[in-house]
């Protein structure tokens, strides 16, 4: 589905990604772990197409198409979704109005008709129930005054509505208590299928108890330095990141 080849990227003058290689196939769940400042969030932002990140080398192909040529919204239309580490507030715009606009703009981008209002409504009800969100959520201003847990749930709600092919969860577990973590993970698991893929970016192993990865990669100093199965995550949790740092010193 997505093929990242020798990807280099920088923010301002600082090189952050120094040759990333990663391939994710449909149906797979990959986890990227790593210490602070290793480049995890940079990778997710580069895939989503954020402008402040300059790609200086390498390629990203998404379903055999060069992703780097596309604007962020075009990437979204292709089915890439980023769950933000810090979701943004948009005062005065309700959750329902925002997601309605997102869905219909995405459909427009794909040359499809807007979603029927009734279908939209029943889908919103279904997905907000999945995330155990109260109905009043939908009429609140987007992320304004939301608690950390509410913001993250709202991200996964949007993901459930948009049904992306590739969902990138950037530190979705940060700031979540154990109940919220379960709800969020449950929401993600319900959306897994043979056709879509998930890239989980996290600092800790605990989210991976709920969303079980097929592959775990360790990102350090802008490179993937180790890959393995879910046992690698458990090993990291037990030993910390220091041995990785030493191995790659």
């Amino acid at each position: 589905m997505i093929k990242i080849n020798n990807l280099h990227a920088r923010v301002e003058e600082k090189e952050i990604l120094k040759g990333i290689n990663l391939e994710i196939k449909p149906g797979e769940v990959h986890a990227i772990m790593g210490p602070n400042g290793s480049g995890k969030s940079t990778l997710s932002n580069v895939i989503a197409g954020r402008e402040d990140y300059e790609v200086t080398g390498g390629t990203i192909d998404f379903e055999d198409e060069d992703l780097l040529d596309l604007d962020p919204e075009e990437r979204a239309h292709k089915g890439i979704f980023l769950s933000f580490q810090y979701p943004i507030e948009i005062p005065g715009v309700t959750v329902s109005n925002f997601i309605k606009t997102a869905i219909n703009e995405t459909r427009k981008g794909r040359g499809e008709e807007p979603m029927d209002a009734r279908e939209m409504l029943s889908k919103m009800r279904e997905k907000s129930a999945l995330l155990e969100m109260d109905k009043s959520y939908l009429s609140r201003s987007l992320n304004e005054g939301f608690s950390g847990g509410e913001k993250k749930r709202n991200e996964i709600f949007q993901m459930a509505m948009l049904e992306p092919k590739l969902a990138i969860l950037d530190e979705t577990d940060s700031g979540l208590d154990i109940d919220a973590l379960r709800i969020v993970a449950n929401g993600v698991n319900k959306l897994r299928s043979a056709d879509n893929a998930v890239l989980v970016i996290t600092h800790y192993q605990r989210l991976l108890d709920y969303i079980e990865p097929d592959f775990v990669h360790v990102l350090y100093n802008g490179k993937i330095v180790k890959s393995g199965d879910k046992n690698l995550a458990i090993e990291l949790e037990a030993k910390g990141y220091d041995w990785i740092k030493e191995e790659n010193a």
């Binding site: 919204e73 948009i90 703009e105």
Partner: protein, 478 residues
């Protein structure tokens, strides 16, 4: 990205900028007593009206054009303006079928149907082109309830006692330079009277259109809501795109008697000038309402047009327990300038006022909020809440806030909140990532920002206003 998008702004067009080719009866430019006598004679006015105008003219001659506002413009040459222009048509019209077909076409282009049968929304409408009212719809339905809704000229002829009693009581002739000028030369406008205890069954609306070049538009609107009555009134305006600056100096007076409520909504979309700041309407307007006991006046305005706007819809809260509200969205783009706000004058006890002002500046424009909250010496327990927010787009524009507060009673409670923000790259990227293009994202964010004001507008108007905001701001982010 910023440059690219800012360039696009200059390409966004003013879609109402056409000129209608109709024969007009336009007098030669210039202003003196004879011109005023001529205007009055053309309208067959009673002598008291002429005297009133001439008195206003004398006052005006002694006044100076105000310079305190935060706008710069070339002062109009008052001798170069024509003070009367009317589309030529038969003297009186028995039905809309007799309106000049070219004129009907104009209103079709503007998206306004004058055909009563075709109107679904049930809005009664008065249409003012240049200096005269050309049509008023739904007169009969309204008449059954005793509601008078007609042009000002007609009101002077048919209901002189009402006009004479109220005109100039809220905005006196010597109130300010442009109010004095308007009092001398006003040509038409709308008049509305709601009898005691009557709830007006439909929205009343006036649509103003400047068509002729070289003319000024000086309309005068008077709304009188008798005891315990209610009316919701809407006003819209457009003008052709011209290189010259056209002057619009209106006066609006509202009288809300005991227990009456007036809701006055404006969508102002006069031609704003081109992207280089050439042309556009000078919009110098005086709007004020007076509230008697338990009365309420609510002003809602969406201001997107005009090269220069100078406008402060205000409330005099004379009666005890009266309420004044002001909800405003003012958008400036390119080289537009707006100095707008309100005055809430609390005289009675337990009076309350609310001010919500949302300014949006883009391009090279300047947008100022100027507001006065005055609590008089006898206004026990008066309360005010003001919120003034500014949104900036790009780094070439300016937002200014000039709040004035004068409290003469110790029980006064006054709250003032103000914020200034920019549309963040973060917000745009978040929207982009969800599949929403930057243009759409701006529209979404701006509509969210203005929501508290747009919610005050009647339904059909709210939709129009939202679209207008989108057009006015097309791509204007940095």
């Amino acid at each position: 990205m910023s440059d690219e998008i800012l360039d696009e702004v200059t390409a966004s067009e003013y879609k109402y900028g056409f000129v209608t080719d109709i024969e007009s009866d336009t007098v030669a430019p210039g202003l003196n007593e004879d011109v005023i006598r001529m205007i009055s004679a053309k309208k067959n006015e009673p002598s008291w009206m002429l005297e009133w105008r001439l008195d206003a003219f004398k006052i005006w001659l002694d006044m100076k054009e105000p310079e305190w506002s935060n706008v710069t413009y070339k002062k109009p040459d008052f001798q170069a303006i024509s003070y009367y222009s009317a589309p030529k048509q038969k003297k009186t019209l028995d039905s809309l079928d007799e309106v000049d077909p070219e004129l009907l076409k104009t209103f079709e282009k503007l998206g306004i149907s004058l055909n009563e049968q075709k109107r679904l929304s049930g809005v009664a409408m008065d249409i003012v082109v240049d200096s005269v009212s050309v049509a008023t719809t739904f007169k009969k339905t309204l008449g059954e309830k005793g509601i008078i809704f007609c042009s000002m000229s007609e009101a002077i002829a048919e209901h002189p006692e009402l006009v004479r009693k109220h005109i100039g009581t809220v905005v006196p002739k010597r109130d300010n330079f442009y109010a004095a000028l308007n009092s001398a030369v006003f040509t038409d406008g709308s008049f509305c009277y709601i009898p005691k205890g009557v709830r007006c069954p439909m929205e009343l609306s006036t649509y103003f259109r400047i068509n002729e070049s070289g003319t000024g538009q000086f309309e005068r609107t008077l709304l009188v809501a008798d005891e315990g009555s209610f009316v919701s009134y809407l006003e819209g305006c457009t003008a052709p795109s011209r290189d010259e600056n056209q002057l619009h100096a209106a006066v609006v007076e509202l009288v809300a008697m005991d227990g009456a409520e007036i809701k006055y909504s404006t969508v102002q979309n006069w031609y704003p000038g081109d992207a280089q700041g050439k042309g556009g309407v000078f919009n110098f307007v005086t709007k004020r309402g007076i509230c008697e006991r338990n009365a309420k006046i609510s002003w809602t305005q969406v201001e997107t047009g005009s090269a220069v706007t100078w406008k402060y819809p205000s409330c005099i809260l004379k009666g005890d327990n009266s309420i004044g509200e002001f909800y405003s969205v003012a958008v400036t783009n390119n080289y537009q300038q707006a100095d707008t706000g309100t005055k809430m004058i609390h005289l009675g006890k337990n009076t309350k006022s609310t001010i919500i002002s949302k300014g949006i500046s883009a391009g090279h424009s300047h947008n100022s909020y100027r507001g006065l909250v005055r609590i008089g010496a006898r206004a026990e327990n008066a309360r005010n809440f003001s919120q003034c927010d500014s949104l900036l787009m790009g780094d070439q524009c300016g937002a200014h806030t000039f709040p004035y507060i004068e409290a003469q009673h110790p029980t006064a409670q006054i709250e003032h909140e103000a914020t200034t923000s920019k549309i963040g790259e973060d917000q745009l990227f978040y929207c982009n990532q969800r599949g929403i293009q930057t243009e759409q994202a701006i529209a979404l964010i701006v509509n969210g920002y203005c929501k508290d004001v747009l919610n005050q507008l009647p339904m059909e108007f709210a939709v129009e206003a939202q679209k207008l905001l989108e057009i006015s701001l097309e791509g204007s982010v940095g």
